[in-house]
Amino acid sequence: MIGPAHYLGVSALLFGLGLYGVLTRRNAVAILMGIELMLNAANINFVAFTKFVDPTFVRGHVAALIVITLAACEAVVGLALVINAYRHLETVNVDQVNLMKG
Amino acid sequence: MPILTLTLFLPLVGALVLLFLPKEDAERIRKVTFGFSLATFLASLGILSRFEFGRPGMQLVEQAAWIPAVGIQYKVGVDGLSLVLAILTTLLTALSVLYSFRENHRVKEYNLLFLLLATGMLGVFFALDFFLFYVFWELTLVPMYFLIGIWGGPRREYAAIKFFLYTLVGSLAMLLGILLLYFHLPPGQRTFDVLEIIRQRPLAGTGLLAQLAFWGFFLSFAIKVPMWPFHTWLPDAHVEAPTAGSVILAAILLKLGTYGFVRFSLPLFPEVFQQHAPLVATLAVIGVIYGALVAMAQTDLKKLVAYSSVNHMGYVMLAVAAAAWAHGRPELQQAAATALNGATMEMLAHGIITGALFLVVGVIYDDRTHTRGVDDFGGLWAVLPKYGAVSITAMFASLGLPGLMGFVAEFLIFVGSFSIFPVFTALAALGIVITAAFFLWTIQRIFLGPTNPRWAELPDLDRREMWTLVPLVVLMIIFGVYPKPLLDVINLASLDVVAMLR
């Protein structure tokens, strides 16, 4: 029988993958994708909790939906920045964008 | 209607109003300042009218929590002693503001500082909370420092700094005293309330600590009085200060010291003060004789009057020392009360007379001759009859001619202190002769003898100068002839202090 553990396991793995993506990718867009993965992992947890722990008010779903919308917004703004960066700095590789170096 | 607080902060309000006036409009600034100082004087008369003469102890007490955590409160009150001095302050502030109408160098700051000074002084007399007292005590220093420092004579910086540092050192010692008192109160009731501390007398049996606190207060007040060894700042400050500034300095600021002795030192440390009363008396007598003699040797008129202040203040300190000696000796209580009456009276008399003298010096120095050398004049009585009459009356009042205020004060002091310190008082009496000598010599050199051709056409007193000098002369005569009403007020305050000494 599929219990909550299974879902949480999948989400943990997905989160790890996302994090790995974020940490290692040089391209800003790739990092964004990594972030999307992490967010999805979170959503899985949310929805899983709604089903297995506390279905009243489908709080998990509400949270998941909000996370999805916010992810959308975040992606929009992130990509807008990327485009702007690309237009000004001619590059989207994160490690070349280090004007704030100490 | 908190009349005390109103009077206290009226000058401050005036100062604020001044801020808004344009700097160039000197005429309006002067009128506004004079208006406010006059208003403060009327307010102080208002306090007088509200003051119940029969009742001893503090009256019209206004109280408000200020920093309750530490026991500091805004508490003001007035008794015979402080009321009389307050009225003196407001009167002289008004007159000096009127006199400094002719000052046209940075008029706005000048008047601003004066009003600030007025609040400071009134605050010292009204404050019934040590912290408040200390705040106002320091407040009086700053304006005077600037008055001397900016509008003073050639060596003004030196004089201003010396004055400021000297008094500051003193006040720090006093702060030490205050704190000692404060921290010896039982932990529960820690307060800066003067009456409370006097009632509890926290340092009563503490031997060394009481000594320390006493000497702390003594140093601060002695410098302010000034008593003999600490007086050297006075002549410099006076010589360099502008006329109105030195009037206030002599007439009021010196009284802060003596007021401090009577209000704080006597009630707070009776045993210690009694122990050192002979020493204080000796210093006082030295002050009297030394002051008179050195005054005689002066060539600068202002320095001469300054040293005469040292002389007169010596008398006051003699009376205070006598009162201190009467602690625990019931048979001397009456004499102590008389001495204290004399001391307060002398404070008033000296305030009015020396105030007038400095104005007198100012009149010939500021507008007319620009020289203060006593020997540069001669035969002015013929040239300036009105001016001559006024200044000779003031000088005679200063040397204690009966029928004028000076005599009343000195007589009371002598009568009071003689029964306590016969020898010292006798010596001090010698001071009268010397005072008479140097004043007469001054009169002779300035007013009598052949007229110095340089001053042949000097203009006599104009209306404004008359208005500053004549009221003081009239006061000298009134209180000289019939001082009873004034003394009744003062007597109650002295009895209070004496009662505390028993």
Binding site: M1, I2, G3, P4, Y7, L8, G9, L13, L14, F15, G16, L17, G18, L19, Y20, G21, L23, T24, R25, R26, N27, V29, L32, M33, G34, E36, L37, N40, I44, V47, A48, T50, F52, V53, D54, P55, F57, V58, R59, H61, V62, I66, I68, T69, L70, A71, A72, C73, A75, V76, V77, L79, A80, L81, V82, I83, N84, Y86, R87, V92 | -
Partner: protein
């Protein structure tokens, strides 16, 4: 192995493999495209978790909008052309270590927690339930999210607009 477990494992595999491709694939467009199966896999998981509404929204927004957007951006920026550029930065081993530890920790924590039985029945018609809970207890969250959308909308336009 009943159908549900089967479906779960299939979807989980789809998600994880997709995820791996997104992270590992050298070609950026490949990564973007492989994002689609991952998201659809997640949508499938939602279906297993009886969250139809969330599934629909997941597909509509994540797959339909965000992935398209990412593709657009990749095509607009040199990402698409500069294929030969080194995609990996220098902290791969370290990152691998950290992610591994983290995943292990999460698993330990999540598995150790004793998940009790659900507190109540799952509402049948849950889009309505979601709608109601959005507008009753969580109306504030709903309003704030709308504000965020507005702000990011305007922000993105302003940032990305070509000057002049």
């Amino acid at each position: 192995m009943n159908a549900e477990a089967l479906a779960f494992y299939a979807l989980a595999a789809m998600v994880l493999v997709g995820g791996f491709l997104v992270v590992q694939s050298r070609n950026l467009v490949h990564a973007a495209i492989s994002l689609v199966p991952t998201l659809l896999g997640v949508a499938g998981l939602y279906v297993l978790l009886n969250a139809e509404f969330v599934t629909a929204i997941q597909i509509l927004i994540y797959v339909g909008a965000i992935t398209v957007l990412i593709l657009f951006v990749i095509l607009l920026t040199e990402g698409a052309t500069g294929l030969r550029v080194r995609q990996r930065n220098e902290q791969v081993p370290l990152a691998l270590l950290v992610c591994g530890i983290l995943v292990v920790l999460f698993l330990v924590v999540l598995l150790r927690v004793p998940w009790g039985p659900p507190t109540g029945p799952m509402p049948a018609y849950n889009p309505g339930a979601v709608g109601r809970s959005f507008l009753m207890p969580y109306v504030l969250a709903f309003e704030v999210t709308s504000l965020v959308i507005l702000a990011s909308l305007v922000g993105a336009i302003v940032v990305a607009r070509r000057e002049g």
